[in-house]
C-alpha cells in the first residue's frame, strides 16, 4: 500500500527577476517526501539546493523570484495559495533552521521569547503554558539549565547551543516537516555530530520528516535515507543513500564522493 506523500514538489523552476536578464537558478526540481522520512539534498555552493529549500518553506520573495511548478503539501499548492494559508503552515507544519545560528536569532530578544514565538502565533496557549512548553522543548534538545537560559540573550550562548535553540524554536509546534539548511556548517566538528544525533532523535520520537541540506556528504550519509544530488540548478542523481554512495551513476556524484576524506568514507 503506497504511503501518502507528505510533500510533493513537481517541476519547480525558480528564476531571479531583479536583474535585467532573468537568471534561472533551479530547473525542473522534483521531490517526494513521506512522513517520517529523512531526505538529503547535496551539492556545492550555487547548486540551487538552498533556493529549493527556501521555496518549499515559502520564504522566497514573490516579487523577485518567479516560480513555476507545484509544491504540494496536504493537497495545497504552496506556490499559489493565499498568503494567510501559507503563514498558517510556516512554523506550524513546516519549519526551517538555518546555517548561521548567531545571525539567525534576533540579538535583542531573549531566548525564551524566541523559542515560544511559533506558539504565540499558532496556538491559544497562555503565558504560563507557553513557558512550560518552552522549558520542555529546551530539555528535549539537551540544553542545560533551561530556566536560566530562557532569560538570556543569543550573544551569551555558544554556537552549538544557539543551534539547539533554533531547533527547539522550530520544533515547538511539532511540525511535520523540518527543513535544515546547512545546520552544521558553521559549527565545530564535535558539535556537528551532536546536532546530527539530535535531528535523528527528533525524527524518531516525533516522526518529523527532515529535508537535510548540506555540502557535507559524510553527514548526509549518516543521517539520510534518500539523497538528491544537485548541480548548477539541476538534480543530477537521486536514490537511496546507500546505493548512491556505493554505486554513483553520474560522474559528478562520483567526484563529490571521492572528495570526502578517506577515513570518513570508509569508516562507516
Amino acid at each position: 500500500m503506497a504511503e501518502p506523500l507528505l510533500l510533493e514538489v513537481k517541476d519547480l523552476n525558480i528564476e531571479f527577476h531583479d536583474h535585467l536578464i532573468p537568471e534561472t537558478v533551479v530547473y525542473d526540481f522534483d521531490l517526494e517526501l513521506k512522513a517520517g522520512e529523512i531526505v538529503g539534498l547535496v551539492g556545492e555552493s550555487g547548486s540551487g539546493k538552498s533556493m529549493s529549500a527556501l521555496a518549499i518553506a515559502g520564504l522566497l520573495s514573490r516579487r523577485d523570484m518567479h516560480k513555476r511548478g507545484q509544491i504540494l503539501f496536504d493537497g495545497l499548492d504552496l506556490l499559489t495559495c493565499e498568503r494567510s494559508k501559507l503563514r498558517k503552515i510556516q512554523g506550524n507544519e513546516i519549519s526551517m533552521i538555518f546555517q548561521e545560528p548567531m545571525t539567525s536569532l534576533n540579538p535583542v530578544k531573549r531566548i525564551g521569547w524566541q523559542i515560544e514565538e511559533s506558539l504565540r502565533i499558532h496556538t491559544e496557549l497562555n503565558k504560563e503554558e507557553r513557558y512550560q512548553k518552552a522549558i520542555e522543548m529546551m530539555k528535549e534538545v539537551e540544553l542545560p539549565d533551561p530556566e536560566r537560559l530562557y532569560r538570556q540573550y543569543p550573544h551569551e550562548l555558544s554556537g552549538g547551543m544557539r543551534q539547539r535553540v533554533m531547533i527547539a524554536a522550530a520544533m515547538i509546534c511539532n511540525p511535520r516537516i523540518l527543513i535544515a539548511d546547512e545546520p552544521t556548517t558553521a559549527l565545530d566538528v564535535t558539535i556537528q555530530a551532536q546536532i546530527v544525533e539530535l535531528l535523528k532523535r527528533m525524527n524518531r520520537e516525533k516522526q518529523t520528516s527532515i529535508l537535510f541540506i548540506s555540502h557535507d556528504l559524510s553527514l548526509v550519509k549518516q543521517l539520510c535515507e534518500r539523497v538528491l544530488v544537485m548541480k548548477g540548478g539541476y538534480i543530477v542523481e537521486t536514490g537511496p543513500t546507500q546505493e548512491v554512495f556505493a554505486h554513483p551513476e553520474e560522474e559528478y556524484t562520483q567526484r563529490l564522493i571521492a572528495a570526502i576524506p578517506k577515513v570518513e568514507r570508509n569508516g562507516k
Partner: protein, 313 residues
C-alpha cells in the same frame, strides 16, 4: 548596573573637566575682572581692594574651586555689567530654553518615527520618493531661515501667532506653549528630516538580516516582523542620533530665540558675549553643558536598555 554607574561617573568627570576648562579659558582671557567691574571708577587702590575682596589673588585652582562650589549652591557669581547675582539673571531663562527644546524634541520624534517606518516599508514608492526630496530640501534650510519663513507665512499671512509676541510662562502657560510651538517646529524640522532618513535606512538594512528570515519562517506577518523584530534593532542607531540631535537642538535654540525674540538662555548668552560679561557667559555655558551632558547620559542609558549586548561585561 555597572554600566549605569560607569556612565554617571563619566558624566560627572566630564562635567568637572568642562567647567574647569571653561573657567580656565575665561580666567586667562578676561583680563582683570576687578578692573572690568569698576569700569570708570577704577583706581589702583579700589582695584587692589576689590581683588582682595573677590579673592582674585588666590591660585587658579582655589578660585575654580570656589566658583564650582558656588555653582553647586546655586551661586553663579556676579555680573560685570549689572553688578547683580548671575543666578537671578539666568534662573528664569532656563525653563524657557528647556521647554522650547523639549517641544522641538517631541515634534521631531512624533514626525520622524512614523515617517521613517512608512517610507522604509514602502521603499521605492511614490511617498518614499517625495519624502526624499522634501527631506533633502529641508536639511538644506538653516533653522533660522525656516524660522523667518515660518514667521512670514504663519505669523504674517495666516496670522496664527504674533511674531515677537512672546508670552511668559508665569502669566499664561497655555499662551507660552502656544507661542513656542512655531519656533519649536523651526528647530525640529532639519533634525526630523535627518531622523527620517536614518530610521528608513536602518530599517531597510535590518530587514535584510538573517533573523528576519527566521521570523518569517515561523509564520509572522510582515507587520509583526517589522514591529516585533526589526524595529527594536533598527532604532538603536536612531537613539544615538536622537540624543545628539537633542543636544544640537539646545544649541539651535540659541539662534531661534533670536528669530522669535524669546528670552531664553540663548539670548542672554549672546548679549553677555558682546558685553564681555564673562561671569554670565560662563554660567550660561555651564548650564547648557549640564543639559547636554545629562541628555547624553540619558541616551547612553536608554541605549543600554534597548541593546543587551552593550551592557554585557
Amino acid at each position: 548596573m555597572k554600566y549605569v554607574v560607569r556612565k554617571i561617573l563619566t558624566m560627572i568627570l566630564t562635567l568637572l573637566a568642562v567647567t574647569f576648562f571653561v573657567f580656565l579659558s575665561f580666567h586667562v582671557i578676561s583680563g582683570d575682572p576687578a578692573t572690568s567691574m569698576l569700569g570708570t571708577e577704577a583706581t589702583p587702590q579700589k582695584v587692589a581692594a576689590l581683588r582682595e575682596e573677590l579673592g582674585l589673588n588666590d591660585p587658579v585652582f582655589v578660585q575654580y574651586g570656589r566658583w564650582a562650589a558656588g555653582l553647586l549652591h546655586g551661586d553663579m557669581g556676579t555680573s560685570y555689567s549689572y553688578r547683580m547675582p548671575v543666578t537671578g539673571m539666568v534662573a528664569n531663562k532656563i525653563p524657557v530654553t528647556i521647554t522650547l527644546t523639549l517641544m522641538a524634541f517631541v515634534l521631531m520624534v512624533v514626525i520622524s518615527i512614523p515617517l521613517g517606518i512608512y517610507t522604509a516599508k514602502h521603499e521605492g514608492g511614490v511617498v518614499d520618493r517625495i519624502i526624499y526630496i522634501i527631506n533633502q530640501i529641508i536639511m538644506a534650510i538653516p533653522p533660522f531661515f525656516s524660522g523667518i519663513l515660518i514667521t512670514l507665512i504663519f505669523g504674517r499671512i495666516f496670522k496664527l501667532f504674533t511674531p515677537g509676541g512672546y508670552v511668559s510662562y508665569e502669566k499664561d502657560f497655555a499662551g507660552f506653549i502656544g507661542y513656542l510651538f512655531f519656533p519649536a517646529v523651526a528647530i525640529a524640522l532639519p533634525k526630523a528630516a535627518m531622523a527620517v532618513k536614518l530610521l528608513r535606512s536602518s530599517v531597510i538594512k535590518e530587514a535584510k538580516l538573517d533573523y528576519v528570515r527566521t521570523a518569517y519562517s515561523r509564520g509572522n506577518r510582515t507587520n509583526d516582523v517589522l514591529y516585533k523584530h526589526v524595529l527594536k534593532n533598527a532604532l538603536i542607531p536612531v537613539v544615538t542620533f536622537l540624543g545628539m540631535a537633542l543636544a544640537d537642538m539646545i544649541a539651535g535654540s540659541i539662534i531661534i530665540e533670536q528669530v522669535f525674540s524669546i528670552p531664553g538662555l540663548g539670548r542672554i548668552l549672546l548679549t553677555s558675549i558682546s558685553n564681555r560679561d564673562y561671569p554670565v557667559v560662563m554660567a550660561v555655558i555651564v548650564c547648557i553643558a549640564v543639559l547636554v551632558l545629562v541628555v547624553n547620559m540619558a541616551v547612553d542609558l536608554i541605549y543600554g536598555l534597548i541593546d543587551p549586548r552593550i551592557t554585557a561585561e
